[in-house]
Symmetry: C2
Amino acid sequence: MSDEEDMQKMKKAVVLSSGGLDSTTVMAIAKSRGYDIYSLSFRYGQRHCAELEAARKIAEQMQVVQHLVMDMDMKLIGGSALTDSIAVPKDWDEKERGDDIPVTYVPARNTIFLSYALGWAEVIGATDIFIGVNAVDYSGYPDCRPEFIAAFEKMANLATKAGVQGQKIRIQTPLIQLSKAEIIRKGTALGVDYGLTHSCYDPSDDGRACGHCDSCILRKKGFAEAGAPDPTRYQ
Amino acid sequence: MSDEEDMQKMKKAVVLSSGGLDSTTVMAIAKSRGYDIYSLSFRYGQRHCAELEAARKIAEQMQVVQHLVMDMDMKLIGGSALTDSIAVPKDWDEKERGDDIPVTYVPARNTIFLSYALGWAEVIGATDIFIGVNAVDYSGYPDCRPEFIAAFEKMANLATKAGVQGQKIRIQTPLIQLSKAEIIRKGTALGVDYGLTHSCYDPSDDGRACGHCDSCILRKKGFAEAGAPDPTRYQ
C-alpha cells in the first residue's frame, strides 16, 4: 500500500472545538462520516476557561485521536467583549440587535483558528477541516458567512503543499444552513451529550451559564424549539 | 473632522517584520509611502532568537508607532526544519534544489502571520498590511506566490468588519516581482541599514550567519549582484 492510499484509508479531519454546542455537533457529524478526529481548541485570553474544560471532556468522550490546545494571546490585539473588559451584553432584544456586528466579535478570530487548523492538517496529512459556523442563527459575525468560508478554502488550496500538489483541502461547515433547533435535533440523533457542552459568554466561577447573554439566549431558544430537554446548568 | 477622515489622515500599516532583509526593505517602502508603521513579529518556536532581536532593533531605528511580538507555539504543530530538529540544508546546488518544497517550509506560516496581522489591522483601524514575500528569488514556498496573496486579500475582505463595511483591505507585496539584488538596491536607496537585519536559518550563538544555508546563499548573491557591500557578520 502506498503512503497515499494509507493516508486516504485513515481519513483524518481537524475539527475546531470550542466546547460549545455547535462545534460538538460538528465533531459528532465528522465522526459519523468515518473520520479520525483531531480536535483543536484555543486558549486565546478568554475571560474564563469553562469552554476549554468542556472541549477537553468532549474530546475524551468522543475518543479523538489527538486534542490540541493552542495558546494565542488575543489580549495583545484586543477589541472584543470576549477578551477585553467590555461588558458582555445581556438580554438583547432581537429588534435592538439590528444589523450591527456585536461587541462579542473577536477580530479575525475564525481566520486565525482556521489558519492554525490548516497548518495542523498539513502536518498530519488531513485534507478536511470542520468548523461549526452557522449563517442562520448566527450573531452577525462576518467570518461566519458562506462566502467567507468559500474564500478561505480557495486561499487554503493555494497556501499549502497539499493544495499545490493537487490534494483538495476542504473546509466543511455542516451546520451552515441549519437553525439552532435543527442542530440540536441532529446532534441528539447522533448521541451528543449536550450536558458536556458550554456556550455561555459570562459563566459563574463554577462554570454555570448566565442564561442572559447572546449565546445563552440562542441556546435556550434552540432547545425549546427542538422540543429537547435543556441540560444546561444555569446560575 | 469625522472619525473616518481622521483614520485616513493617520494612514496606518501593519508590516510583518521577521528582522530579515526583505521585511526590513518592505518597512522602509511603507514608511516612504507615508504610512505610520505597526510592526508585527512572531516568536513561533524558532530555534534561535537572533531574528527577533533584529526585528526589535529595526523597529526602534525605523521609529514605528508600535512593535508587537506575538507568541505562537508552532512547535506543537511541527513539520519544518525551522522549528523541529530536522537539519537545515547547507550549500544546496541550484540544480539539486529542483521544484520540491524545501524542508524549511513551515506549514501555513504566512497564512497564520497574515491572519494575525488582519486581526491587529482591524483593531487599530489599518487597511494596509505589508508583507515581504517574493516570487522571483523565492524558495519554493507555496504561500509566497501572487495567487496566494490575491486569495488571502479576497478572504480578508470577507472576514472582517472593515471589509464588510466597505473599507478595502489591501495586502501589499512591494517585493513580489523583484530579484534579491533589486530589493537591496531599493532598500539602500531608502537608507536601510542592512547591518541590522538577520537572514540566516542557522546562526551561531552570538548571532553570526552561517553563510551556507539557503537564506544566506540568496542574501550573499543579492549583495554581490547589487554591487553593494555585504554588512553581514559571518561565522
